[in-house]
Symmetry: C2
């Protein structure tokens, strides 16, 4: 017996997303699809002998073919590639992705998540940094699958795809130590974010491993952005004139550090070596091109989507927390101390 053609078959034959095919086939939703697309889908359905059958692929009958992703700060250039990676993986399976931005405010985060729940998404990917674990549980209790990306839950109860910041910061520190630096400071991200706190802890651990002092050599920026990075760097350097290298908690902080050092007449890398974190777009174009630690954000988005798709198909997900290995990108902002 030949398998009955599915909605996915029709979508593929018409070269459209499954969600578009679904809408084109439904007279009630056809109005939002262009006439030419409707014609193409109907022709493909006719040719294949397609007849709607909501259980054909074992899909829940109440599926909306919609997934939500919640990010803390769209203006941080690392998030768009992550979103795009998730979007591409979900699109292959016919899902459309809706994005919510939270500005890292707890209350705004709750509003965005509950809006997506109200809109009946089939699953949620959360890249928000701070969140009471009760929210993920509440979402799950509504029958909506949840995956975390670029963060993890404190009790490990929610599947998560994250970068290994301990290894990543170690790569930056080892690189500077190999160049001959021993007076190394850290411009840290805010400790309320797991990434800010985790990278700062890793910095201390790796300096201790090398027998180097961190006393007074850590300055915390209010926020993972350029201006707070510049302010923290000015404070750090004026307090520690002996420093020859700075490890910044992310690339935006490093760009702020670069600006502050330029303004103070401190040349990078001549007077001060500098590393970033994330290898976000465009840091290879600044002067000097930034040495940084790269994380595969697009792949993190893809893996989060694939994990969510597995959950939505009712498959078990193992292992629960996936840590992706970062890579050191050596450019021109680091060299041996004078």
């Amino acid at each position: 017996m030949i398998a009955r053609p599915t909605l996915i078959d029709v979508a593929k034959a018409a070269d459209v997303h499954a969600s578009t095919a679904s809408r084109a086939l439904n007279p009630e939703t056809r109005g939002v699809v262009s006439d030419t697309t409707v014609a193409r889908v109907l022709a493909a359905a006719k040719e294949l002998g397609y007849r709607p059958h909501p259980l054909a692929r074992g899909l829940r009958t109440d599926t909306t073919l919609t997934v939500g992703i919640v990010v803390p700060d769209l203006e941080n250039p690392l998030f768009p590639p992550l979103v795009r990676g998730a979007e591409a993986a979900l699109g292959v399976e016919g899902y459309t992705l809706l994005i919510g931005n939270t500005d890292n405010e707890q209350e705004h985060t709750e509003a965005v998540i509950s809006t997506l729940v109200d809109r009946r998404v089939d699953g949620l990917i959360l890249a928000t940094a701070e969140l009471g674990s009760g929210v993920a549980a509440a979402v799950q209790s509504e029958g909506i699958d949840v995956v975390l990306v670029n963060r993890e839950s404190t009790d490990g109860s929610v599947p998560a795809i994250i970068g290994d910041d301990h290894i990543g910061i170690g790569m930056a520190v080892d690189h500077l130590v190999e160049l001959g630096h021993s007076a190394i400071g850290h411009v840290a991200g805010p400790p309320v974010l797991s990434t800010g706190l985790g990278r700062c802890k890793a910095f201390k651990a790796h300096l201790a491993r090398h027998g180097l002092s961190v006393d007074g050599r850590i300055e915390v920026a209010d926020w993972f952005q350029v201006a707070p990075g510049a302010r923290a760097t000015s404070d750090l350097v004026s307090r520690n004139p002996e420093l020859t290298a700075i490890v910044a908690g992310n690339d935006l902080l490093a760009l702020g550090a670069l600006r502050a050092l330029n303004d103070a007449g401190v040349s990078v890398p001549g007077d001060m070596s500098l590393t970033g974190y994330n290898d976000m777009p465009f840091v290879d174009l600044v002067q000097p091109p930034l040495t940084t630690v790269g994380l595969p954000y697009r792949e993190m988005g893809t893996m989060a989507a694939q994990t969510l798709l597995a959950l939505m198909r009712g498959e078990g997900v193992e292992p629960h927390v996936t840590r992706l290995r970062p890579a050191l990108r050596v450019r021109a902002s680091t060299e041996s101390p004078r």
Copy 2:
């Protein structure tokens, strides 16, 4: 008679979004809001003597307090500020914003828009560059208000907030002519996008106004991104060795031009002056900092949201198309020819 307290009053008293207050007050949706927020909202409602009344502010009873925004390319750094501007203006009125990204593919654009329509957003902001005007009409026929931002409809039937590219490109050309340049080339964006086509037309018009030739001095990039900008610049410069200045169609193309010129040993601005377009984040940090034309993208997002809010309140919107004036940002990538 003292006015009955509204949901907005409760939200303000509890210092939460109206949508959060609404969910906290509703036992069925309370689960997705944190316990502390629910307690704060209930306390505020009690103190104010609030009783739900769906028509209190003349809102439609079927409102979802949700607005969608559709952008063509989240990885272009100009869109996040635009989204944030819209989000802030909508948040004040208790609306939550859901974002869709389309990759500028017509079919994906349709899928994203129809998903947002299916999810019953109250209004839509479209920043997508290419779209059959029938789609906006179909959305409107579903009772959903629509505003365009950074693009306009061919017949002007949909309210739009856009930058004035003719004036903006004129600013870049005038700046170069004032510096003494006369052999000026253009790296154009794709002509299928109104921004690519419009800026190229503006370039021709302004060079004609100055009596300068454009023959063979325009090279079209496949896409508004760095790599296509580099390829187009290589072709443009090898065909026109006499050029002393390049006007790029946007900042990403200019960054590609900078990379290609650096690779070819052409110094900017010594051998070649270069202008970008958009004044996107970080172009002041590249070397040399980029002279570009700034558009107020955050304000465009805010104005689009305010226009949409007026439409959703049933107010007339005049004028239909608002053109925002750009501003020249002179940095170090332009100087007089040798």
